[in-house]
Symmetry: C2
Subunit: 115 residues, 2 copies
DNA sequence: TAAATCACTTTCCTTTTGGAAAGCACTATA
DNA sequence: TATAGTGCTTTCCAAAAGGAAAGTGATTTA
């Protein structure tokens, strides 16, 4: 006769992981954070540093990152008007995750090519 | 006169980060990996351990994770027929990322509630 | 007056993701 | 024969994400 089974509770890990994903999911947010992190602070510079991103998507993602207090938008009233994007300190908390993803990606590419 | 500007190259980080995202992006893959990791090996157990997931989505994501050699699907010919899902060793390479995401999520929730 | 620069915005469209509800195939037991 | 358990699949649909291409508005220089 079948033994009664029951699932193991993992909600204490799943909830924070999903909190993280709610903020940082999608194809573009990490590339944008990385680009700003290396010093790209202008819209067009960020755009050119990320292959394939369109201005529409970049504008939308920048707004979301600003909303979550990961980046700051500053208007400089010079000519031509400059707008610069910089990291808020909170963005630095993502650094360990970025390195972990980067390491995984490097290893994964080796694995896939090596197969 | 405007100073010539040029973007900083961050492609060596962006490429591996995107390789990672190509495999692991989406709302459900990490929760599924976590659930299997704590010992849920049956379809329905995994389903019940992840709030909100539907069987359609779970089936699709399990196939993708299997394709990427992160989990293994094993058929046990008992009655009733059992199918169990277990981690491949490769799934363990995600552990540091899962902990980093979890820590970030816990801290983020504190920050948001505390505001 | 025309052109250039910058930082986007707008429109239109396709693709991907997610979700609700029901159904199906198999086997075994009552 | 009817019912139950397991692991899905199917259908239909809505929402979100992504992309191509062109346009906008403010300003200043030629």
């Amino acid at each position: 006769m079948p033994v009664k089974r029951g699932y193991n509770d993992c909600i204490k890990t799943i909830i924070p992981v999903r909190d993280f994903l709610d903020v940082m999911s999608g194809k573009w947010k990490f590339p944008i954070i990385v680009s700003i992190g290396v010093g790209n602070d202008r819209f067009v510079d960020i755009q050119e540093s990320i292959p394939g991103i369109t201005p529409k998507v970049l504008a939308k993602e920048l707004k979301e990152l600003e909303k979550h207090q990961l980046i700051k938008r500053t208007v400089l009233s010079e000519y031509p008007v400059k707008i610069i994007y910089t990291h808020e300190p909170y963005a630095d908390t993502l650094t360990p995750i970025i390195y972990a993803m980067k390491d995984w990606g490097i290893n994964h590419r080796k694995k896939v090519i090596g197969t």
